[in-house]
C-alpha cells in the first residue's frame, strides 16, 4: 500500500464465540480525509471501531496505521491505552463518555495527561511547582481554551460536564479527543441525538478539523446528511462484511446498499434465485 493511507485494514476478523461480528473486512482511509463507515444496525461498525481503538483484540487480520511523518504502527498488536498514547488514535463514544463530575476544562486537561505527566517529571517536579511545570500547565490550559473556543463552550468552561446540554456534551467529547493531538480521530455516531442546526454545526467543526489540523477522521454515522455532506469516502458494512466502498454519491446509488438499508422486493429475490438456478 502506498504512503497516502493513514489506516489500512486488512482481512480484519472479529469473533465472539461462535458469532462472527466482522469477517474479513478490508478497507483503507486516506490521510487528511473524512472516511465514513455506515451500515444498518448490527452491521459491525462499532466492533470495527473497538478493534481500531484497542478495546477489542481482533481475532485475525491486520490494522496498519501510518502517521503523516511515516511512522507505522500495527494496531492489532498494541492494546488499550497505548493506541491513543503511542499510535495517536483518539475516539469518542456512541453513548457519550465524559467525566460528568469534572468541569469541561478539567475534561480537556485529563486528555492531555501523557504530555502533562512528562512535564511534571512524573509528578515529582510538579509537586514542588517547578517553573517548567507551571509553564507546561499553562500551555495545556491554553490548548484546552483553544478547543473550548472552537466548539463554542468557552463560556461554560467551569461547569460540570454532566450539567451541559446533550449537544454540548457531544462537542466537548470531540474537543477532548482533539486535545490528545490525534493523527486519526474516530467518531462513533457524533450526530446522534443532535437537531438539524447542531448537526450542521458539527459538519462545520469536522470539516475545519480536517482542513486546519490535518487530522484524518473516521466516523460511524446514521445521519445521512452528515455522511453525504462531509465525507470524502464511504464504506458500507452489512453483516460484518463490506458491501460497498466509494464516494458518497457512488455509494448512495449502489443497489446493494439500498437493499441492505431498505430490503428488496420479493420478486427481485425470486429473480436472483432464478439467476442462480435454484
Amino acid at each position: 500500500m502506498s504512503n497516502d493511507h493513514i489506516l489500512v485494514v486488512d482481512q480484519l476478523m472479529m469473533r465472539f464465540g461462535g458469532i462472527i461480528a466482522v469477517g474479513g473486512l478490508s478497507f483503507t482511509a486516506k490521510h487528511g480525509e473524512i472516511t465514513a463507515l455506515i451500515g444498518p444496525n448490527g452491521a459491525g461498525k462499532t466492533t470495527v471501531f473497538n478493534c481500531i481503538t484497542g478495546f477489542y483484540r481482533p481475532s485475525g487480520g491486520e490494522l496498519r496505521l501510518t502517521h503523516p511523518g511515516g511512522a507505522t504502527f500495527q494496531l492489532e498488536k498494541l492494546n488499550d491505552f497505548r493506541i491513543c498514547k503511542i499510535a495517536k488514535v483518539a475516539r469518542t463514544f456512541q453513548n457519550i463518555r465524559l467525566f460528568p463530575g469534572m468541569t469541561a476544562l478539567e475534561n480537556l486537561m485529563v486528555a492531555q495527561h501523557n504530555a502533562l505527566m512528562r512535564a511534571s517529571g512524573m509528578t515529582f517536579l510538579g509537586l514542588f511547582g517547578v517553573p517548567s511545570w507551571r509553564a507546561a500547565e499553562q500551555r495545556a490550559i491554553d490548548r484546552a481554551k483553544f478547543w473550548l473556543d472552537r466548539v463554542g463552550l468557552i463560556a461554560r468552561a467551569d461547569d460540570a460536564a454532566g450539567n451541559l446540554p446533550y449537544g454540548d456534551q457531544r462537542r466537548l467529547e470531540i474537543a477532548r479527543a482533539m486535545c490528545t493531538e490525534p493523527a486519526l480521530l474516530c467518531l462513533d455516531e457524533p450526530a446522534a441525538g443532535l437537531n438539524a442546526r447542531e448537526s450542521a454545526g458539527l459538519n462545520e467543526l469536522l470539516l475545519s478539523i480536517r482542513a486546519e489540523h490535518g487530522t484524518s477522521v473516521l466516523l460511524i454515522e446514521h445521519d445521512m446528511s452528515v455522511v453525504m455532506e462531509i465525507s470524502d469516502h464511504v464504506i458500507v458494512l452489512d453483516h460484518g462484511t463490506k458491501i460497498a466502498d466509494g464516494t458518497p454519491r457512488a455509494v448512495r446509488d449502489d443497489p446493494k446498499v439500498i437493499a441492505a438499508y431498505l430490503g428488496v422486493e420479493d420478486d427481485e429475490v425470486a429473480a436472483v434465485e432464478r439467476e442462480l438456478g435454484q
Binding site: 488499550d80 463530575g101 468541569t103 509528578t123 490550559i141 460540570a160
Partner: protein, 446 residues
C-alpha cells in the same frame, strides 16, 4: 398502639407535604419491615429455650416481648420514613442569596479556623492530659482518613483493608527501631516506603476487580496481614506484640527527665506533658503534610487521572491513560500515608500488637471518609472529629453508646447522603471556581 400512628402520619403529611412518600407507601414499607421482624424475632425472642432441672430441654413463649419488638420496628420505620421526608435531600429549596453567601464565607473560614485552633490547642489545654491524648487520637484518624481518601475518595477504589498499611507502618518502625536501633526520623520514611510497596503488592491482584469484589479482596488482604503478624512469632512476637519501642526524639534530643533531655538542656523543669505536646505537634505536622501533598496531587495530572478514573475508566483508556499505573499509584500513595500514621502510632504507644489492627479500624477509617464526603479534605477532618469525638462524648452511655452512635450516623446519612461535604471543588478553572454538585460526581466502582 397502632391507631394513633396514621393520624400522626396524616397530619405530618399535611403539614410538610411529604410528597415523595405517601402515607400508603410509608405504611406498606413499615408493614413489610414489621413482618420481617416478626419472622426473625419469633424464634430469637418469641421462643426461649433452657436446660431444665433434669437436664431436659424446656421452652416457654414470650409473645409479649415479641409484640413489643415488632411494634417498635413498625413505629421506627414510620419515623425513619418521615424523617427522610423532612430532612432528606429536597429539590427546589433555595436559601436566600445572603444566607448562601454567608454560608460560603463560613465554609471558607472553617479550614483556617480549625488549623489555628489545632495549633493553639496544646497551649489552651496544657494541663488537661485527657484532651491532649484525645486530640492526638483524632489527628491520627484525620491522617488515616486523608490517606484513605486518596484511594476511596479520589480514585474511587473501595478499600476495606486499609488497616493493613497502618500495621505495616507500625511494625516497620517497631522492628527497625528495636532490632537495628534506627531513629524515628530515619524509620518514618522507611515505614512509608514499605507501606507503599505493600500497597503496590495489593494493587496487582486487584487491578481487574471492581466494586464489591475489590472490597472483599482488600478486606481479605487486611486480615492476611493481621494473621501473619499474629503467627510469625519469631519476627513479630505474635500476640505478645512488640514492646519497648523507642520514643521519638527532637532531632536526637530525647524528651526525658535525664541529664541530656530537652528539659535539662533548656533549663526548665521536666514534665511528662512535654512529650505529649511534642507528639501532638508531630502528628499535626504529619497530617498537614498529608493534606498538602493530597491537595497538590489533585492539581497534578496524576490526581486528575485518579478522579477521571473514578468518573469513567473506559474513557480514561481511550485518552491514553494507563489504568494500571494510575491504580497502583493511588494504592501506593494511600498506603504510604497509612504507613506514616502507623509509624507514629507505634512511637506514641511504645507497644504494638496485632490487636490494634483489626477490621474494626478499617471500617472506622472508611466510615470517616464516607461520612466526610468522598474526596473532600475538610469533610474528612470534620468527620474524624465527629466520629472519634463522638465515641468519647457518648462514653457515659455505657452499653447504649454504639446504639446512640449508630442512630446518629443513620440520621446523618439520611440528611446528607453524600457525606458532610458532598460537592467537589474543581482542580483548575478559567473564571469561576464553582463547586460541582454531589449528584454529578461519580462514586467510582473500583
Amino acid at each position: 398502639m397502632v391507631s394513633p400512628v396514621p393520624a400522626a402520619v396524616a397530619s405530618a403529611a399535611n403539614a410538610t407535604g411529604v410528597a415523595k412518600a405517601g402515607i400508603a407507601f410509608i405504611l406498606k414499607k413499615s408493614l413489610i419491615s414489621a413482618l420481617v421482624a416478626l419472622v426473625l424475632f419469633s424464634l430469637m425472642i418469641g421462643v426461649r429455650t433452657d436446660v431444665g432441672t433434669a437436664g431436659q430441654l424446656v421452652y416457654w413463649t414470650r409473645f409479649g416481648e415479641l409484640a413489643a419488638i415488632v411494634g417498635a420496628v413498625f413505629v421506627g420505620s414510620i419515623l425513619v420514613e418521615l424523617l427522610r421526608g423532612w430532612f432528606g435531600p429536597r429539590e427546589g429549596v433555595q436559601l436566600p442569596q445572603g444566607v448562601q453567601r454567608g454560608l460560603s464565607w463560613a465554609g471558607r473560614l472553617i479550614g483556617p479556623a480549625a488549623l489555628v485552633f489545632a495549633l493553639l490547642l496544646p497551649v489552651i489545654f496544657y494541663d488537661q492530659r485527657y484532651i491532649l491524648d484525645l486530640a492526638i487520637l483524632v489527628l491520627t484518624y484525620i491522617m488515616l482518613g486523608w490517606g484513605l481518601n486518596v484511594v476511596v475518595g479520589l480514585a474511587g477504589l473501595l478499600d476495606l483493608g486499609y488497616v493493613a498499611f497502618y500495621a505495616v507502618g507500625a511494625y516497620s518502625y517497631a522492628l527497625l527501631a528495636t532490632n537495628f536501633g534506627l531513629s524515628f526520623w530515619i524509620c518514618l520514611p522507611l515505614a512509608g516506603i514499605l507501606a507503599a510497596f505493600w500497597g503496590i503488592l495489593l494493587g496487582f491482584p486487584v487491578l481487574r476487580l471492581r466494586g464489591d469484589y475489590l472490597a472483599i479482596v482488600t478486606l481479605a488482604f487486611g486480615e492476611i496481614i493481621r494473621l501473619v503478624l499474629l503467627n510469625w512469632q519469631d519476627l513479630t512476637g505474635g500476640p505478645n506484640g512488640i514492646s519497648g519501642i523507642p520514643r521519638p526524639t527532637l532531632f536526637g534530643i530525647p524528651l526525658s527527665s535525664g541529664e541530656d533531655g530537652l528539659a535539662a538542656l533548656l533549663g526548665i523543669e521536666f514534665s511528662p506533658t512535654h512529650r505529649i505536646v511534642f507528639l501532638f505537634y508531630l502528628i499535626l505536622a504529619l497530617a498537614l503534610i498529608t493534606n498538602w501533598v493530597t491537595i497538590r496531587l489533585r492539581r497534578l495530572p496524576i490526581g486528575r487521572a485518579w478522579e477521571a478514573m473514578r468518573e469513567d475508566e473506559v474513557a480514561c483508556r481511550a485518552l491514553g491513560i494507563n489504568i494500571t499505573t494510575t491504580k497502583l499509584t493511588a494504592f501506593a500513595t494511600g498506603a504510604m500515608f497509612g504507613g506514616f500514621a502507623g509509624a507514629f502510632f507505634a512511637t506514641r504507644q511504645g507497644f504494638i500488637s496485632p490487636e490494634s489492627f483489626t477490621f474494626h479500624e478499617s471500617a472506622l477509617v472508611l466510615a470517616i471518609v464516607v461520612l466526610g464526603g468522598m474526596g473532600s479534605q475538610l469533610g474528612v477532618a470534620i468527620a474524624a472529629v465527629t466520629l472519634i469525638g463522638g465515641f468519647e462524648l457518648f462514653r457515659g452511655l455505657d452499653q447504649y453508646r454504639m446504639l446512640v452512635f449508630g442512630m446518629a450516623m443513620v440520621l446523618l446519612m439520611i440528611w446528607r447522603p453524600r457525606g458532610l461535604v458532598g460537592h467537589r471543588a474543581p482542580t483548575v478553572f478559567l473564571e469561576h471556581n464553582r463547586a460541582i454538585a454531589a449528584d454529578m460526581v461519580k462514586e467510582g466502582r473500583g
